[in-house]
Amino acid sequence: MTEGYFYTILALLGFSALGVFHKLADTLKCRPAPVNALLYGWSLVFVMLTLYFKADTWSAPGIVPGLAIPFGISASIAILAFQAGIRHGDIATSWLAINLSSGIPTIASILVYHEPVGMKRAIALCLIPISMALLWKDKRDAEARRA
């Protein structure tokens, strides 16, 4: 279990560093399209190396790439929009905005697979648009102050 916590802390640092690097890329005037391409290019190289060293097979039933490629394209659109959007906002609030999208697969699971909603999930899903609205209001106020 202690080892589990150790890996969780490493995962936490990995995800946090990713957020900081997104902002750093913008601050250092890196352009969104090259950053997105290189993020996916390097990630693909790292996954292929992991598969190679784990001596795992690269082949999979046709449905696997058939599913993965369109969903990967969707995620790539997200990163491109996020990297372009950071130029107009703070990382503190932008990172939250993109992470709040966890609600979408939850809603899709409820609609497609008829998963039970439950009180906790219902409250959590209601909080997402409220949180987004508050972030938008904060940004609008900040823009008004700057004008």
Partner: protein, 154 residues
């Protein structure tokens, strides 16, 4: 006078553009991981690594098309940051999987990684990039973190 951060923040900001792009990122990023759920429901959970490889390949195909449309090349700084970001993305996902494999329950691992990373990134934004969050933004962050933690444990 605006106080500049350790790393100077850019000033060409537009809330309407930010909101539009964040909404696109919100929807597209939310749809992205749902494929893994479909994969598992199809009884193909054993192919998660191969799925991830094709998932990144799909992302790369779109990214290269966008790069070609933009008619831009890449520079050394972008190559280094891209590598760092790709490594961090994979490390985050791999270490979460390893934590779960070592028996740490998901209701502990997911809120810690999601809520914790939101907190650390917000902290970095304030401390390193000298960002300011107003009272509405602060309430939004608190409600957002609460929502994600609740989603992780539900």
């Amino acid at each position: 006078m605006r106080r500049h951060g350790v790393l100077e923040a850019r000033t060409d900001r537009n809330t309407a553009v930010w909101m539009r792009l964040m909404l696109v990122a919100f929807v597209a990023n939310g749809v992205g991981p749902f494929g893994l759920k479909v994969l598992t429901m199809q009884g193909l959970g054993a192919y998660q690594s191969q799925y991830l490889m094709y998932w990144y390949l799909g992302g790369l195909i779109f990214a290269l098309a966008a790069l070609r449309l933009n008619k831009t090349g890449v520079n050394g700084r972008e190559i280094l940051l891209g590598a760092a970001m790709g490594g961090c993305s994979l490390a985050g996902q791999s270490f979460t999987a390893m934590a779960l494999a070592k028996g740490l329950p998901g209701h502990i691992a997911f809120p810690l990684t999601t809520g914790g990373s939101l907190f650390l990134v917000a902290l970095a934004g304030i401390a390193l990039f000298k960002e300011r969050i107003g009272p509405f933004g602060l309430c939004g962050v608190i409600l957002g973190v609460a929502s994600l933690v609740m989603l992780s444990i539900s």
